[in-house]
């Protein structure tokens, strides 16, 4: 009988003799999952880097390695229970103090991240997850100039478009919209078909009476409490298309667990009165051209107010944002009062190499936080990352207390995401 979950599991210890075992499992498993040879090789090398890193920094720790396939990618997840004093090693740019003011760099995770299409470090309770993602190789499409279409008859929303329609719609987006407003996956329509089939991306298409595609909107759920959309992409007609697409999305999310709706990539066709502007982020594109990306928000519930923490130096930014958004918050100051802190800071990281983007969030704020921030930034910039963000969840005083360090390290608070995490989240951008 066919099982839904065909993950391959391996339990091992962080010891050198097991490296070939990991290599073989990742390589053979990835090939069995249909990952292409070159992609498999890179994922295998990345996995080897991770195990080597763990052998260096957490020798002997028990590791659970899971290799799983989604239609569009293969994911290798290394999980282990970390001793709090060993968490420092989970930094992308870990550095070990070896006495007499000497230190040793451990860049295994950084090396691994270079070989994967996606990489993340996260902490769930006491368990650390190091996750590598390698996408299948899909044929990509390039933008071609087309004439704007005209729709005929009544418009309707198609909720579950067939693959051929999805691919056609992706091509229309690529041909109609600038690259910076195009969902990255749309350049590989086959990947979109697989992501939709897997439930990792949702989209609906607006069709006219004779079956021509008039528009598209896509969305994903970055967390249980939030939904992020790209679009609406309109290929023909007027504001009716955008309104139909957005109404469908709003009606869909209105009775889900989502509390907030955010824009990932908001096009000019978006009906601005449906949302509240949160400001903009400055993105450096692959061609080194900078562009501003507006970020929009819609609260899906009646706001009951709440309390958040802030470092005093971020208070002014927050108060202005809350006042503009008419969000009732009690803002409480938090900063170091000389209490003892763990020696090392630990940041989780989510890397998107194709966008040269990294999002850091704190897992532990230690005594070396300022030095740790600087090391991360220096190393990431050296590695070509030009869009570096640091997110702080204001539900936690220990996270909010980092605000001052970030300001001193070249970050500026850019966006407040209401209910973007456990509470509101401030997005800092390195400038």
């Amino acid at each position: 009988m066919q099982k839904n979950d065909q993950s391959i599991l391996l339990r091992l210890f962080a010891e050198t003799r097991f490296i070939p075992l990991v290599q073989n499992m990742v390589e053979q498993g990835s090939l069995a999952f249909g990952l292409e040879q070159a992609k498999t090789l890179r994922l295998t090398m990345a996995a080897e880097e991770i195990v080597s890193h763990l052998i260096e920094t957490a020798a002997g720790v028990e590791i659970n390695l899971s290799l799983s396939a989604r239609r569009w990618c293969v994911v290798a997840d290394f999980s282990f229970v970390a001793n709090p004093s060993d968490l420092w090693a989970m930094n992308l740019v870990a550095k070990e103090n070896v006495g007499a003011e000497k230190s040793l760099d451990h860049l295994g995770l950084m090396l691994a991240s270079r070989m994967a299409d996606g990489f993340s470090v996260r902490l769930e309770g006491k368990t650390v997850h190091l996750e590598l993602r390698q996408d299948h190789a899909y044929p990509s499409i390039e933008s071609q100039s087309i004439e704007s279409g005209v729709f005929k008859g009544k418009l309707a929303i198609l909720e579950n478009p067939e693959p051929a329609l999805i691919k056609e719609a992706c091509a229309l987006v690529v041909n109609t919209y600038p690259t910076y407003l195009t969902h990255q996956a749309f350049f590989t329509p086959g990947k979109v078909v697989d992501m939709v089939a897997e439930g990792d991306l949702s989209l609906v298409i607006c069709m006219d009476e004779i079956g021509a595609i008039a528009g598209l909107i896509s969305w994903r759920s970055p967390s249980e409490k939030s939904v992020s959309f790209s679009g609406p992409y309109v290929f023909a007609g007027n504001g009716d298309v955008a309104e139909l697409l957005e109404s469908h999305l709003l009606n869909y999310v209105s009775r889900t667990k989502a509390v907030s709706l955010f824009s990932d990539l908001a096009t000019e066709d978006m009906t601005t009165q449906n949302y509240e502007s949160l400001g903009h982020l400055d993105f450096m594109q692959a061609d080194d051209q900078s562009m501003e990306l507006g970020v929009w928000f819609r609260h899906l519930r009646e706001d009951m107010g709440g309390a958040v923490w802030t470092h005093p130096s971020v208070r002014e930014f927050l108060e202005k944002a809350y006042d503009r958004l008419v969000l009732m918050r009690t803002v409480r100051d938090v900063e170091s009062a000389g209490e003892s802190l763990p020696e090392n800071s630990v940041f989780s990281a989510r890397l998107r190499p194709e966008l040269r983007e990294v999002i850091l969030t704190p897992m532990v704020v230690g005594a070396n936080v300022d030095e740790s921030v600087k090391r991360h930034v220096d190393c990431l910039i050296k590695d070509g990352y030009q869009n570096i963000f640091f997110n702080l969840d204001l539900a936690y005083g220990w996270q909010a207390s980092m605000g001052g360090v970030l300001l001193d390290s070249g970050f500026v608070p850019k966006i407040l995401l209401p209910h973007g995490g456990t509470s509101d989240v401030v997005v800092f951008q390195h400038v």
């Binding site: 109404s247 709003l250 009606n251 209105s254 009775r255 889900t256 667990k257 009165q273 449906n274 949302y275 509240e276 819609r298 609260h299 899906l300 519930r301 009646e302 706001d303 009951m304 107010g305 008419v326 969000l327 009732m328």
Partner: protein
Amino acid sequence: MSSLDFQQLVPAYIQSFEAYYPSLPDQDLMVTYGVDHLHRLNNNENALGPPPEVAEIVDAFPPKAVPVYPNGDCHYLRQKLADRFNKNAKQFLVGNGSCEVIGSVIKAFCEEGDNIITADKTFAVYEWVAEFSGFEARLIPLKDLGFDHRAMLDAMDERTKVLFVCNPNNPTGTYWDKETMDEFLDEVGNRAIVVIDEAYFEYVDKDDYPDGMELMERYPNVIVFRTFSKMYALAALRIGYLCGADDVVDLVRRTHIVYSVNTLAQSAAVAALSNDRPFIEATRAMVCDAKKLILATCDSLGLEYICGEGNYLMVKVPMSDTLMYRKLMKKGVMVRTMTGFRFPNWIRVSLVQQPVMEIFCQALTEVIEGR
């Protein structure tokens, strides 16, 4: 004790169900929004109430009655209702609000694999109770803001057990006239139970509006819901009821919780029915005046609205309804956001006394004009 993975104990339909979290208490909201008053225009309450006969009962309620259980099945109230509607007391079941009787009906008729049918933009509790009980809720899009009787009939199959018709519909205020209702009931036949929710019955003053109490004499599969929360202004006491044919109600009684309606609520409901005509007339006049004022304001601001039967209307605002909610709350006015009803950017406003309606219109105008 070893840790237990509670998720393993929970049915999939509960795991995927999103709990409803009501608003915070008014006092807390006032502190949050920094206001010293809050006009409640969010729950379609009758601000004129309760009727004087009810006020006397509430004022005179003796503390010595508190330790004593209420009558388990609202004996005197059911008798009073039977007298009022020329039926027998066995035809009535009283619940802790009509939400409770929704659950009783669904539990009585549905089993695994069954479905209920209602509209997509209506009182959400029919859908919720079905879904968290493990039954499919088939939601039929409104047609011209009203229930689409043809589409509801088309959606029926052999596993359809209950059709819920909110008449008039909350929140659009539309209703099926006698002809439409007869046509629908004729076609349903005895294939399923039809619940006609008449929570706002007393607000409707139209000749072509069908009376469920009469319909059930011709259609034994009809169950009527009514409430004391809306017209009779007993919302805080939580009391509503259903009425149907003897044998149908006998089935529902098997799943219905007894002793759930408190003594004060039972007595107040009896009193509310004792001389309700003047109170109903006064309330209808209040609602009529309120409608005129709000519609004039909407017209002057160029705002679209939906205004039908009931003590509420809906206004489309040029921003997200949740932002409008926050802005109005800062001015001491609480309305209902309608995104959850699948009417994004609409707010629903309860129709109450003139001075409060004037405050609402002023606040709405200031928000629209950016003041």
